[in-house]
Symmetry: C2
Subunit: 348 residues, 2 copies
């Protein structure tokens, strides 16, 4: 490890500036009630010595860390394999940086590590948290509630008994159900009659809502046309094989996301079936470059993932400002549901 | 935001357990000098109330956070675009999780945000830091030194005047120069005579060392056969075009990493040149699946990236244990240079 020189102390700064410890402390914590000429002298001494205030102590006074935790309730392998998360983080990173707030991404190997994440959140290291990709029965919401950290969720949380937060929950989501309906109606409009749905992970509300949208249009559907999957390309492949085994007359597939659609199209190609002539395919997300690089390019339901990340960060920061100002004007921030758009390419 | 119920206080735990505040505090911070029966009563009260100690206050006592920061000195877009970082994080995450230490990834939009990262590191939120992908003149080493945070570096740091740490620096790296020499010797052994090198970002020691290895073998090389690039696929494409313009007789390319080799091979294919018949290509990293999925599959210098991440984490944790135990046995941890291996596939 780098063995470092001793850190300059508050005392050293006070001696250099010719002021008391208390004055240095007040300047470091905002400068309230200190004469401007003294503030200037202290700042100069801080710069010259390279003094960095001990934030563990400082934050006990100011209660702000200028840092926001991001928790993705997936193993880190998935976080880096699914471009959805990178896009959402991009939006969050831009917004936090614009407010000079540090993005603190808490990575885990899986659900067993969530208690540790809860301890870190409770530990007074961040001003708030952005939490996404929650699954049913995830202990995180309960841990976050105990930690007392202001939180905005990405995607409507699926509370189960005992984990529900006591107050109003703020989240950012897209219109999963409406987007799914539009996709399936488009397939119906193309004259398709054996329309299948490959679901996402059904312990997540986004997957449940998209399935509900599919059912809204396809009332009394053959149950074999609904195959449960998990939002991954490999899951899409397995689901498509199952579909072809059970329903060889399938003529359209609405996949719960683009990665699943990509996996399904791979199997269709291997089986010598043409897209869209034999089987039309629609995805969800408009994940670039995936959706543009499938063969043929993928018709899909677009949600603005980066914008969702940006909005989550903005709602959280706005809520934190309200708390510190305590003016209460406009009340607490509300959840936001963003619209979706069907993007027409060649696959359906 | 989730408006949460008030957090249970230390006082509430003390009342529930029928002990003093001081006793609760001692138990929460390790239990030294408290009777086992009292420890048990306090623990039970903590569990029943869901009490979480305020770590900002607690860490002033214990000086440990069970959290390690990871700083990658690249914009977050690059962190998520280059699988090198995901692989290194995989090793780090496994090792930290095995020690129940939280991985805290500090993301930035670029170098302008490094001062903020320095403030977070100085703020008493982590026990140590793992820092990689440093560039020449990066302010991070100086900021880390001021922060006084024990640090292990990934890749030999390139200190410039004024940013050098005062004590010994611990880093994990691979034998960049030796690996490069082996690659170029292999090309010579194939009878190639116009061997080019597409460099990495020359403000990083890994790129400089690989260039040195190339020069070790190719003494008095035609300077037009060395083209500066940046470790990205797009950079590899641009460099290959420049090479073909200036040296149309080039018959081999040693690329500074696999992504660069991938870009170069794309241009060779577009220009109707065959790999390896017309131009042999060797990369560096053995980044899977990239190296296996190029056409033809890529001959490359393997470094064990995940293992490097694991080693960085292990050296840091070992150093922290030494500091807290203060036994001094074995001295401070030393840097580690891992060997490389030339992996023979079809491209050279």
């Amino acid at each position: 490890m780098t063995e470092t020189a001793p850190r300059p102390t508050l005392e050293a700064v006070a001696a250099r500036a010719g002021v008391s410890r208390a004055t240095v402390s007040r300047v470091v914590n905002g400068g309230d009630g200190v004469r401007e000429s003294l503030v200037e002298r202290v700042r100069q001494a801080v710069d010259e010595l390279g003094y960095v205030p001990n934030q563990a102590a400082r934050s006990l006074v100011t209660k702000r860390h200028d840092a926001i935790a991001v928790v993705i309730a997936e193993p880190e392998t998935r976080v880096f394999a699914d471009p959805f998360f990178a896009m959402q983080l991009r939006g969050i990173s831009k917004e936090l940086t614009a407010h000079d707030s540090q993005l603190v991404l808490l990575l885990t190997e899986g659900r067993a590590d969530h208690a540790r994440v809860g301890r870190y959140l409770a530990g007074g290291h961040v001003d708030g948290a952005l939490v996404f990709s929650l699954h049913l029965d995830d202990p995180l919401p309960g841990l976050i509630q105990r930690a007392g950290v202001p939180t905005v969720f990405g995607g409507r949380p699926c509370w189960s008994e005992g984990t529900r937060a006591s107050g109003p929950t703020v989240y950012v989501d897209c219109d999963n159900r409406g987007g799914a309906r539009e996709a399936v109606r488009h397939l119906v409009g193309l004259g398709r009659t054996r329309i299948a749905h490959i679901t996402g992970a059904l312990d997540q509300t986004s997957a449940v809502d998209r399935l509900d949208g599919f059912r809204d249009v396809m009332v009394d559907v053959d149950p074999r046309l609904i195959v449960e999957s998990d939002f991954t390309p490999g899951g899409g492949e397995r689901a498509m094989r199952e579909l072809l085994d059970n329903c060889p007359d399938v003529d359209a597939v609405f996949a719960a996301n683009d990665l699943t659609a990509y996996g399904a199209m791979k199997v269709l190609r291997e089986e010598g079936l043409r897209v869209p002539e034999d089987v039309a395919v629609i995805g969800f997300d408009d994940m670039l470059p995936v959706a543009e690089q499938t063969e043929p390019p993928l018709t899909t339901v677009r949600q603005d993932i980066e914008e969702m990340g940006r909005l989550m960060a903005r709602l959280l920061l706005r809520g934190l400002d309200r708390r510190s100002v305590r003016d209460g004007i406009g009340g607490a921030p509300s959840s936001v549901i963003l619209p979706t758009t069907l993007i027409h390419r060649a696959s359906a």
